[in-house]
């Protein structure tokens, strides 16, 4: 009986120790100086910056390296003018561009616009987001330029994708959208 009591006590102690490991807390680190350097880490909280947030937009009137500015403004007139803008991509590389465009389209657009561009993406099928038009909609008559414009600024409920796709990628997607439109209206 006494032996039983002792072994039960040991078992409880082991279980108690094991349950001390809290999954809401990070584990111990051996020599933390080696783990965390003096330099700032991505997204770190920094006291002297506004809101303590390290992630900030670029300083006004500066552009990041490699950025291609977009001349048209986010107005109805700008949108009208964008329809005239032609794709700057090399037409000899069309196949390659379409392949990249498809890959990006499937990540960023297909969830609402559908893999075929018919406006029946998974979110629309589940009725989470409604009213996504088909690319073949005659009234809208989309062009590569207007597609780029909408991706850059967003339109109505659609947000801007300027921070997820860069200049070249946006044009690649725009060209792929045109291909989908062709397939739909065929």
């Amino acid at each position: 009986m006494k032996n039983l009591l002792i072994s039960a006590g040991v078992l409880v102690a082991i279980l108690g120790l094991a349950s001390c490991q809290d999954e809401n807390q990070p584990n111990y680190q051996y020599m933390p100086n080696m783990y965390e350097s003096v330099g700032y880490e991505t997204y770190e909280q920094v006291d002297w910056l506004p809101n303590g947030s390290e992630a900030m937009t670029p300083v006004e009137h500066t552009i990041s390296r490699g950025l291609v500015p977009y001349a048209l403004e986010n107005t109805p007139e700008g949108k009208e003018m964008s329809a005239m803008v032609a794709s700057p991509l090399d037409s000899l590389m069309r196949e390659d561009n379409l392949a990249v465009g498809k890959e990006l389209y499937d990540i960023y657009c297909a969830i609402c616009h559908g893999a075929k561009g018919d406006g029946k993406g998974w979110l629309v099928q589940r009725e989470k987001i409604l009213g996504v038009p088909s690319y073949s909609d005659a009234a809208r008559n989309i062009t590569p330029g207007s597609t780029y414009h909408v991706m850059y600024y967003g339109l109505n409920s659609m947000g801007s994708y300027a921070n997820q796709l860069n200049h070249e990628e946006r044009w690649q997607v725009a060209e792929y959208v045109m291909k989908l439109k062709e397939d739909l209206t065929k």
Binding site: Y28, Q29, P76, I107, Y108, I111, L130, G131, M158, N166
Partner: protein, 491 residues
């Protein structure tokens, strides 16, 4: 010892059977057997009764209510501009209008419930105005129509797309849908109540079941003790002396152990070895955060976003394609969808019992969306950004020590490695946790086992061929390409 005693008791029973005949022994055995059967029956009945909870009926009622509602919705409706088909109107509305308009809520454009009646009665407009507005709103604004310009200014000059393809009858259908009395409250209340009841009874019956099992267990223990006592009493009555009481005093076992030096030595070595084993195991997990699942400021469910809604990982973690860091999405990416999705409706069948048990109700998730609105500074009433935003202090889960270099783009875009290979079944995680240990051994193991994809990479064809020749293999692994060199990750 215990085994011995049991054997002895068994012998005792059979002997007393022999001695006293069946008269005494039989009733005793029977009694115990009966009692056992009774408790078992009791437990069985309990289990059965829990299986049939009232949830079944609740679901039936909900289904009936729903059927009634759809029936009502399918009937033709009478709009102010002529008869229209409500069902067809709903379809057209969802296809063409719902991107910017909701029935009872301001979105990019105004709420449309009873909009036609309102326009005709309050603004003194007619059906022709509505038709031409829908078919060509920019034209109406340009022509200087007073109400058209007023509404255009009121909604931040968001131009409504022209719908020249809609016929007058189509518009009548849509109006019939927007004018139809909203059946929503009845429909929403009934299934929700049914689901709640179902989950509630599920939770209660689980607890009751456990309680019943504990009760059965306690009864069994009591019975064992009783049987033991009775048998002892019989033994005493028959004049049998229990073996243990008979046993004479012997040398205590620990003293015997201490006297045997060889045994002490072996035990000491065994103890040392096993404690070294456990100490090693403990030290090896220092700095390893596998399973780390911190509480985040906004309860973001990867299960709902990546699982149920099948949103690509790279949609939000966009920079994993192109940079070292996989990127915590900024809140504007959340707003790409949550501008439209302002409440959590979940699956058509409602939240599962498991979710409810954890408190993940639809209201809970809707509340989390409101937290997002607050952080990003989105004014839901006016559908505008207030400009007052505050950063969300996400807790970082995956964190490599600074002396190890890891590049997401290299693995995701070049290596074509699925996110799930390292991050585990994220699409099933309600709360995100670290799936892999992220230790050096884990990295190296993968580098040794993973073949490099070399197809369609003409630029490096020659190098790849020579590498394969050098190692005498067909497929070159990441390790053979230098994936084990120290300087590749530590510099």
């Amino acid at each position: 010892m215990i085994g011995n005693r049991f054997l002895y008791l068994k012998k005792l029973v059979s002997r007393s059977l022999l001695i006293t005949g069946k008269n005494i022994e039989q009733p005793l055995m029977k009694k115990v057997f009966n009692r056992h059967q009774l408790t078992a029956l009791f437990g069985f009945c309990l289990v059965i009764s829990f299986l049939f909870s009232p949830s079944l009926r609740a679901q039936e009622e909900a289904a009936v209510a729903e059927a009634e509602q759809t029936e009502a919705a399918e009937a033709g409706g009478e709009g102010p501009c002529g008869p229209g088909d409500v069902a067809k109107g709903k379809q057209l509305f969802n296809q063409n209008c719902a991107a910017c308009h909701a029935l009872n809520r301001k979105m990019t454009g105004p709420a449309l419930a009873n909009a036609a009646t309102r326009l005709i009665e309050e603004e003194g407009l007619d059906c022709d105005w509505i038709y031409s507005w829908i078919k060509n709103s920019p034209g109406m604004i340009a022509s200087g129509d007073a109400y058209a310009n007023r509404i255009y200014e009121e909604y931040n000059q968001a131009a409504m797309t022209a719908f020249p393809t809609l016929s007058d009858q189509d518009i009548n259908d849509i109006i019939a849908y927007t004018e139809a009395p909203p059946p929503a409250p009845v429909a929403a209340a009934t299934p929700a109540a049914g689901a709640g009841e179902e989950a509630g009874s599920g939770g209660v019956s689980n607890e009751l079941l456990l309680g019943a099992l504990a009760l059965v267990f306690a009864l069994l223990v009591m019975m064992l003790i009783l049987v033991n006592q009775t048998l002892r009493r019989i033994a005493e009555a028959n004049g049998v002396v229990l073996e243990r009481e008979k046993a004479e005093k012997r040398l205590p076992i620990w003293k015997a152990f201490a006297q045997n030096q060889f045994l002490v030595l072996v035990t000491a070595i065994l103890l040392l070895l096993s404690s070294a084993y456990f100490a090693y195991g403990w030290m090896m997990q220092v700095g390893v955060n596998q399973g780390y699942a911190p509480i985040q400021p906004i309860h973001y469910s990867h299960k709902i976003h990546a699982g149920d809604n099948k949103i690509e990982c790279k949609y939000c973690h966009s920079s994993a394609r192109v940079s070292k860091h996989s990127g915590i999405p900024s809140l504007n990416i959340c707003m790409n969808c949550h501008k439209s999705i302002y409440e959590y409706k979940g699956n058509p069948e409602g939240p599962s019992a498991e979710d409810l048990a954890n408190g993940y109700t639809n209201e809970f998730y809707t509340n989390e969306i409101k937290k997002l609105y607050k952080a990003v500074g989105w004014d839901e009433e006016n559908q505008k950004y207030t400009g007052e935003s505050q950063p969300v202090e996400w807790v970082r889960i995956h964190n490599l020590p600074d002396f190890a270099y890891f590049n997401h783009a290299q693995h995701v875009s070049v290596g074509n490695i699925e996110c799930q290979t390292c991050h585990g079944p994220v699409e099933e995680m309600e709360i995100m946790y670290q799936y892999s240990p992220l230790t050096m051994g884990w990295c190296i193991n993968c580098h040794r086992e993973t073949n490099v994809q070399m197809e369609g990479n003409e630029y490096y064809d020659k190098i790849h061929q020579e590498l394969a020749k050098k190692y005498g293999v067909e497929k070159v692994t990441a390790a053979q390409m230098g994936g084990l060199e120290c300087g590749k990750c530590h510099y």
